[in-house]
Subunit: 107 residues, 2 copies
DNA sequence: TGTATATATGAACAGTTGTTCAGATGTAAT
DNA sequence: ATTACATCTGAACAACTGTTCATATATACA
């Protein structure tokens, strides 16, 4: 590596430091199988907490906790519908990210 | 949600359970800013442990620990070059995954 | 108003993770 | 052989994470 390359890389790493933190933070959300399953279920249809809980065979409480994380990260949104609170994906970035990871696994 | 939809989603979640575990496992590797920075540095050029350590201002020991994780996940490979051990990405899936996440952040 | 249903919340706990430190290993050069 | 250099390793520790349990909140319905 010549000194030009070194200083170029050094700049990239240093200048984008917070960006890498954000990126790690984003991937942290996908780094749990319950959350991945929830997100994947939501790519199929919007649904309420109880349904998610049944689909994944996970405690309603656990689902609720995870949904709070997903919501505060703006990956899902919620609306009340009668007795239920229905969750859905905020956009299709989620699907893109999941697909991207799946592609790596399927090798 | 009609009963057809329910059983379809149920099948998807149940059948791919291990796949979701793998996916979460993969994202777990990207879920740390040190590792993301290491991987990003390696997208620019192969380099040895000491260089990575300087670029990121992280202990050489910490880098070595992280590299072991990255290597055992087959995201990086290593070769000896004189006194140094030079690390590089095994393929360009890594870059794809990083770019995919970056795209989500940049909104 | 009272009761059932759906969801959210907080404390507690066990399990995991990333870093540091001290020292081991291995290679190169004299 | 001895020394210097580069990297690896394992133990220890603090910080963080996901689940569970018990309970609170909030809406619907009788």
């Amino acid at each position: 590596m010549d000194s030009n390359t070194i200083s170029r890389i050094q700049t990239i790493i240093t200048k984008n430091s917070e960006l890498f933190d954000e990126l790690a933070q984003l991937y942290k959300i996908f780094a749990d199988s319950s959350r991945v399953k929830i997100l994947c279920a939501l790519t199929q249809s919007e649904m309420c907490v109880g349904e998610i809980s049944e689909f994944l065979s996970i405690t309603q409480s656990a689902v609720s906790h995870q949904l709070r994380i997903l919501k505060s990260s703006n990956l899902v949104k919620s609306k009340r519908q009668g007795k239920n609170i229905v969750y859905s994906l905020t956009d299709d970035h989620v699907k893109t990210i999941i697909d991207c990871g799946m592609e790596h696994i399927a090798e």
